[in-house]
């Protein structure tokens, strides 16, 4: 695969510590597009080794608006089905430029290890010193060890190490869209974290055409209904929590967008200091980045204040716990006070009600955001529409929330961009087939 690709798949056997490399065959891309499509193919190829597959979308890391997404695929410890979790912020882009298109992580290590991926080199390294650390400490430690603060870290915390079904793979210090308990899978594999740094380059088959088309699309997108809105508060409001913005407002320090994504979907809140201060914080880390609307909504429904919710979510992030799942269990158990919920966290586990069906994470809400996609007013088309939109996002590498905000990101335009970028001539029929297969799980 010559374009929009590093032309490399790494098959990492944690059991034997052997790493094999394969070229990314163009035929595989023609049939499965990328992202979740090829992840799914690789999962089935190595299924007997209970693999975790990580891959970037065909357009991840490019000039195409929203191209922030990479995808984790595995059998969910929570549902037992093949599922995909989104990797956003800048980790998806970093993976794309790391010299690997796809990683198949199979087998179980006999001792704690971590993966260090850089410039097309995959190193399995000892994680004896990292095991037992929370995600923040682990991220700090590995960044210090490799000497670069821009290294992206997908890590598990104590929850994953102890095998909780609520464990998630965090994204640096923050919560990710892993709603499947993949943290438990990493814990089982004794894989503490995956550190990625991407300093590679991508070749584009038709650079002029690709750039022009990307810019034209961005111009169209800029007039969308999301313009003028930002952060998790506005997402909550769009989902019917009208008081969401005012509830969160006193804590908001700033909003933060994922790589090349026009809508800033993440909100940084200050918990220990005044967010309005214009000087450097006095504490090392006075707040946290909220990356999932459902985490916040869950604890809001438990009756916590925004500040209390932030404090609990910070602890969840450090322990590597899925905040939404934790809030669901707390609600079910009738836990409504900060201390009660806090005491619940260290041993948190158990079946989660309302776990999303299908292969896509509930990281993205099940309906359009700030946009009219021409769906039936009674909501009867929402589920099928949502699954298809998510499939498109997970194939091409588009942010799974932003694809719900931008009707201009049509399947046709993304396919045209992919063809300009790769020089392949993937047809609409092939895309349709790939979407169907990914939706099927």
């Amino acid at each position: 695969m010559e374009y929009l690709s590093s032309n490399k798949i790494a098959v990492i056997d944690l059991g034997s510590s052997e790493i094999a490399e394969e070229e990314l065959d163009e035929g595989l891309v023609r049939e499965n597009i990328g992202g979740a499509g090829i992840n799914r193919y690789l999962y089935h190829k190595y299924e007997s080794d209970d693999p975790l597959v990580i891959g970037s979308g065909l357009l991840t890391g490019t000039l195409v608006a929203g191209s922030a997404l990479a995808v984790m695929t595995a059998k969910s410890p929570r549902t037992g089905s093949l599922c995909h979790a989104p990797i956003t912020l800048t980790a998806g882009m970093e993976l794309k430029f790391s010299g690997f298109d796809y990683l198949v992580i199979k087998g179980v290590s006999s001792k704690p290890v971590f993966l260090w991926l850089h410039d097309g080199i995959a190193d399995i390294q000892d994680a004896g010193d990292l095991w037992g650390k929370d995600t923040w400490e682990a991220t700090e430690s590995v960044r210090k060890a490799v000497g670069d603060d821009l290294v992206q870290v997908l890590a598990i915390g104590p929850a994953g190490e102890r095998g909780s079904g609520l464990a998630q793979v965090g994204n640096n210090y923050w919560a990710s869209g892993d709603t499947w308990g993949f943290g438990k899978l990493l814990g089982r594999k004794k894989l503490k974290l995956i550190a990625v740094r991407g300093m590679g380059l991508l070749e584009i088959a038709d650079p002029e055409g690709f750039i022009a088309q990307s810019q034209e699309l961005l111009t169209e997108i800029k007039g969308g209904g999301w313009a003028g809105k930002a952060g998790i508060g506005d997402i909550l409001a769009a989902l019917g929590e009208e008081d969401g913005p005012s509830w969160l407002a006193p804590l908001i320090h700033r909003h933060k967008a994922c790589f090349n994504t026009p809508y800033a979907a993440n909100t940084f809140v200050f918990l220990d200091e005044d967010p309005k201060r214009m000087t450097e914080p006095e504490t090392p880390e006075p707040g946290m980045l909220l990356t999932r609307f459902s985490d916040l909504l869950g604890f809001k429904q438990c009756g916590l204040s925004a500040l209390e919710s932030g404090r609990i979510l910070k602890e969840c992030a450090r322990m590597g716990l899925d905040g939404t799942a934790v809030s669901s269990l707390c609600l079910k158990a009738g836990l409504k006070d900060l201390e009660g919920i806090r005491n619940f966290l260290p041993g948190a586990d158990g079946p989660v009600d309302g776990q999303a069906a299908g292969p896509f994470s509930s990281f993205a809400p099940g309906k359009p955001l700030f946009a009219d996609f021409g769906l039936a007013p009674d909501g009867s088309q929402d589920a099928a529409w949502w699954a298809r939109r998510q499939a498109v996002a997970y194939l091409f590498g588009i942010h799974p929330l932003f694809i719900l905000m931008a009707p201009e990101l049509t399947e046709e335009k993304l396919l045209e961009l992919a063809n300009l970028g790769t020089g392949l001539e993937v047809t609409a029929e092939t895309l349709d087939q790939a979407i169907s297969e990914v939706v099927r799980g």
Binding site: H118, D119, K144, A145, G147, M199
Partner: protein, 439 residues
């Protein structure tokens, strides 16, 4: 646009024993006087990369490689003193700290250069490499009085800096060398057969001299103007007075050899026209001198790797160079620089070295054989590993707000050494491949 493959093919023909003349290289047809249009040689070029050098010697490496000169030797001060110049037709010395270079080479190194020139060698000097052989009574420099010319940007009273004050001045004994401008300047070539048809061209000035020629000097190009990219570091009137119509490139005979001194970095990779002019002048002067060295040609003794062995060996090296460039890239986001000798070093200079290695690793991956001479098989990966450790130490010390100057000094020294060994492996392998493929 310069068609480098044309010049690479000419060099290949020379290697193959075919006759390629000066006029073919210069493309000037009948401009070369009768009797001067002799067949070209494939020169062995030494590039000085020892004490006092900045990263700009890598620009000479890029230039020579693009034009198909693979017989390159990389010398530190000890090798110069040890008589290695005897094996060369040409010595290139680029930018850095002139006084530190002079100190490193010492009177012994100066003597070797004098002997090299006397026996027909060609000296290419840019920036610090141009200052070095100019007449001077300063300590260390007085041993290198090969060219009688005056420096127009030498001053006792410091001019007012209007931009980049840290880049506008360097101590030069009890005086100062001030740098009136940086970046691109316009030059006009002299009308003489060696430069027929050249006219005006651009090259970047990063601290090199303006010169007033003395006896025996040939002015080959003058500073004739500034460009939209010229950055004035002092008052523009003073800059004009200092540079315009002053010599930018000087030629000077010495014994049977000669020196070509470039105020601007005509070897800079972003200025291909100026690069071509360097090769034109080089070809002219080498032809004139007639110095011919008996060379040890391939196949050489050493460890030859092939196929999977190359991949495996390079992978180990690639791992460490990658680790190093990741740390170095992160350092560029920090506001730190180091004063080493008389030169300011910013973190980006670390990456200039690492990228010079990184880009060439891919070329080596495609080679059928790789020649590892001496202890390179072991020393290169070891040195690369130690460099990663050093860089990480430096980053940790910076994070802890410690003094990083001693680490930075060692780092740049180690980078020079690692790069020198790597490039020797690289060019020996490439030249070997080029020569052996002809047999």
């Amino acid at each position: 646009m310069i068609d480098y493959s044309f010049y690479q093919n000419l060099n290949r023909k020379i290697l193959d024993g075919d006759e390629v003349t000066l006029s073919q290289w210069q493309g000037t047809g009948g401009q070369i006087p009768p009797g001067e249009d002799r067949p070209l040689i494939y020169p062995r070029i030494g590039i000085y990369s020892g004490k006092g050098c900045s990263h700009s010697w890598l620009w000479f490496v890029d230039l020579f490689e693009r034009f198909g000169f693979y017989d390159l030797i990389f010398l530190d001060e000890a090798q110069v003193k040890d008589g290695q110049l005897e094996t060369l037709e040409c010595l290139a010395l680029s930018g850095g700290d002139t006084i530190a270079i002079a100190e490193g080479l010492g009177t012994s190194g100066a003597g070797q250069i004098r002997q090299f020139l006397g026996q027909g060698g060609l000296y290419l000097g840019s920036c610090a490499g141009a200052y070095l052989p100019l007449h001077s009574s300063k300590e260390h420099l007085e041993a290198f009085n090969f060219v009688e010319a005056k420096i127009t940007n030498l001053i006792k009273t410091i001019p007012i800096s209007i931009s980049l004050p840290e880049k506008s001045l360097s101590p030069y004994g009890c005086d100062y060398v001030y740098h009136p401008v940086r970046e691109s300047v316009e030059l006009t070539a002299a009308e003489e057969p060696a430069l027929s048809g050249w006219g005006r061209f651009e090259a970047p000035l990063y601290g090199g001299p303006g010169m007033i020629p003395g006896r025996e000097c040939r002015v080959l190009a003058r500073y004739s103007g500034f460009t939209s990219k010229t950055l004035f570091l002092v008052d523009p009137d003073l800059a004009r007075e200092t540079l315009l119509n002053k010599a930018a490139i000087l030629g000077h005979p010495f014994g049977q050899g000669s020196l070509l001194l470039f105020g601007p970095h005509a070897e800079h990779p972003y200025f291909p026209e100026a690069n071509k002019l360097v090769t034109d002048l080089m070809a002219w002067e080498l032809n004139r001198s007639g110095r011919r060295i008996e060379k040890d040609e391939p196949p050489w003794a050493g460890i030859f790797l092939s196929g999977a062995e190359i991949k495996s060996w390079l992978r180990g090296l690639k791992r460490e160079i990658s680790n190093s460039r990741i740390v170095a890239n992160g350092l560029e986001t920090l506001s730190i620089r180091w004063l080493i000798g008389n030169k300011i070093y910013e973190p980006i200079k670390i990456r200039f070295f690492l990228e010079a290695l990184w880009g060439r690793l891919r070329t080596l991956e495609k080679e059928k054989t790789l020649l590892l001479f001496g202890e390179a098989e072991q020393t290169l990966p070891d040195r690369a590993r130690r460099l990663t450790v050093l860089l990480r130490d430096l980053k940790h010390t910076l994070d802890d707000q410690g003094d990083t100057l001693p680490l930075a000094e060692k780092l740049f020294q180690d980078l020079q050494g690692l790069t020198r060994i790597f490039l020797t492996v690289y060019f020996r392998s490439r030249w070997s491949a080029a020569v052996l493929s002809l047999n």
